[in-house]
Amino acid sequence: MAQDIITIFHGPQHPGITGNMSVELDLLGETIKRAETHVGYLHRGFEKMIERRTVLQAFTIVCRICVPEPDPNEENFARGVEELMGLEVPEKAKWLRTMVLEMARLQAQMLWFAGQGGSLGHYISPQWAVADRDLILDLFEELTGGRVYHMYITPGGVRRDLPEGFLGRLGHFLDYLESRLPEYDNMLLRNPVFLERARGVGIIDPATAREYGVVGPNLRACGFMNDIRKDEPYEMYGEVDFIVPTETSGDVYGRAMVRRAEIEQSISILRQIIRRMPAEKEIMAVLPKNHRKWEVPKGDTLVKTESARGEYSYYMVGDGTDKLRRVQVKGPSAVHAITLLEEMLVDSQLSDVAMIMNSLGTNPPEIER
């Protein structure tokens, strides 16, 4: 067998993505002739685990489906259960949920930022971004008791009320982050080398985006306005003002700019939340006392949340017992990092693989939930 091509593996441990995932590449020189994604390094059978647990027990593990941004899972699960059981969530809990979701989006974008710089060998960006993300995690720690996995948004409400002075500290942090943003721009997003690398690479054209069902910032970078927060507002998103940034280039740079603009939008949303946070104490709906008594009525529901990577949906079926009959989790990465990536990588270069993967916001655990 004459060997025109060589086969190498990119990953599974890799700065391009948060989580373990490998791409098998056939290369001629450094040009990719075939790409095949290998997932399964993180498979833990979450859907089955949820089906074996009571609702209350199950809510603590859904956050683990997505490491960089766990809260949309909790939100989806909680909202789905509430819809099935017909629970009424107090308004303050809704505000708190919105706040947590936006904080989570903010820290997920910071983590993306870290990867985007790191995948180009620009080691300031990961260090800065992760350091600033840690400040959000500090706030999370205060609010929820956990830094990464919060287990905060529970069916029926949220688990804890705001600590003393929390909103003030959040406001301080937002001011700090806003002052840092121009520095981030200077460091990476306006860096001439970054522009050279990112422009015109990893292009998703609008037709492909539609065909593959691309969502979130990746779709918005192709010129489509698509955001669950606007299209089907949940929690308090109908109450706050924000815009959905779009770009038209569809390349790595376009996606970076969309995410960069979303950081600003998140800051603005969080400021509005701070201003409008109600003072009341009620944060939980009236719930059965024993967790074994949480009987989910028959019925099914599809709940969607806009995560930092796009539409994140749960399809949930209740069958009248205390356990859910079926839960189907659909994260955006399954589209982006499997089907689309395999297509996008063909004829691109090995040097760009990590950058493209990161710009798609790939997150393997939500592929193999």
């Binding site: 990119h10 180009l120 060998g121």
Partner: protein
């Protein structure tokens, strides 16, 4: 002869300790830019000693064994053909037997050994790194050759010592006398030192881990040691050629540290180019400046 050998040993020791010091600073400085505390200044030495203290090293036969040897020998040989000081019998090595063109080519011999060892190890990632390195070399050497050719033709000699001697006062430093050549050479300098944006060769992200993927233990120890020494050789070469040389070790350190600092800030501030972008860049801006300088120089003739 004995004096020369003693001098050679001295040169090796000096470059090793200078290099370890500079790269210790490099790590701390980078950490500060990253807003970290960073490792202690002697962390590189610790790492190096640790590598030599490993119980065993993976190998792939005799050629793999010889690779780091050729690499280190190439580095030290080039070091010995660079005069460190002017107006001094010390630290001259064998520089009177060689010249600048020889040195430029000697600097490629070491990497050849490395490339052979990488090739024989059969790691595709390593060979990719080597190929990138060789491709990048096109971009680095052409502007560099143009700039040193300007120097050599300007001073009428190809001997490093004589080029260094000719720069007797600050205004006669070649960076003042031939500013265009100096600027052009700085681009190559950043690339040759392996700083971003020209460091895609050993990029841990863009390819698994660059040419040195398969080396470990004592081999990696030798490679790490030669890397800092090689960097020092380049720094000293630039001091000799453009910064007026040095009459004693302290001036040498001051001047080379200034250059090192330049390398450090450029490397810290930018992401890396892809190989062909690096070469294209080098064959555009620096080459145009260089050609402009040549034309300016010979238009008047």
């Amino acid at each position: 002869m004995l004096f020369t050998i003693f001098n050679s040993l001295l040169a090796v020791l000096l470059t090793y300790s200078m290099g370890m010091l500079y790269y210790g600073f490099y790590r701390i400085g980078n950490a500060r830019i990253h807003r970290r505390v960073g490792p202690p200044l002697w962390q590189n030495v610790i790492d190096n000693i640790k590598l030599f203290a490993k119980r065993e090293a993976p190998g792939h036969g005799i050629m793999f064994h010889l690779g780091p040897v050729i690499m280190t020998a190439g580095t030290i040989t080039s070091m010995l053909f660079v005069p460190f000081l002017k107006d001094s019998a010390w630290l001259q090595g064998f520089s009177s037997y060689g010249n600048l063109i020889l040195l430029i080519y000697l600097m490629v011999v070491g990497p050849l050994g490395n490339a052979l060892a990488v090739g024989v190890s059969g790691v595709p990632f390593g060979v990719m790194g080597v190929t990138r390195g060789l491709t990048r070399l096109i971009g680095l050497e052409v502007p560099f050759f143009l700039s040193v050719a300007l120097l050599m033709s300007g001073s009428g000699t190809i001997s490093i010592s004589e080029i260094m001697m000719a720069q007797d006062s600050f205004s006669n430093w070649n960076m003042m006398a031939h500013p265009a050549a100096f600027i052009v050479s700085l681009f190559s300098f950043v690339g040759m030192m392996g700083a971003s944006p020209f460091d895609v060769v050993g990029a841990p992200v863009e390819v698994y881990s660059g040419p040195q993927a398969e080396f470990g233990g004592k081999y990696l120890g030798f490679l790490a040691a030669q890397r800092v020494m090689f960097s020092m050789v380049k720094l000293i070469l630039w001091v000799d050629l453009f910064l007026g040389g040095a009459t004693n070790v302290f001036i040498l350190m001051a001047k080379s540290f200034a250059l090192f600092f330049f390398y450090f800030i450029v490397g810290a501030a930018f992401p890396r180019f892809k190989t062909e972008q690096a070469v294209d860049f080098m064959l555009k801006l620096p080459l145009i400046i260089g050609i402009g300088a040549v034309l300016v120089r010979f238009w008047s003739l």
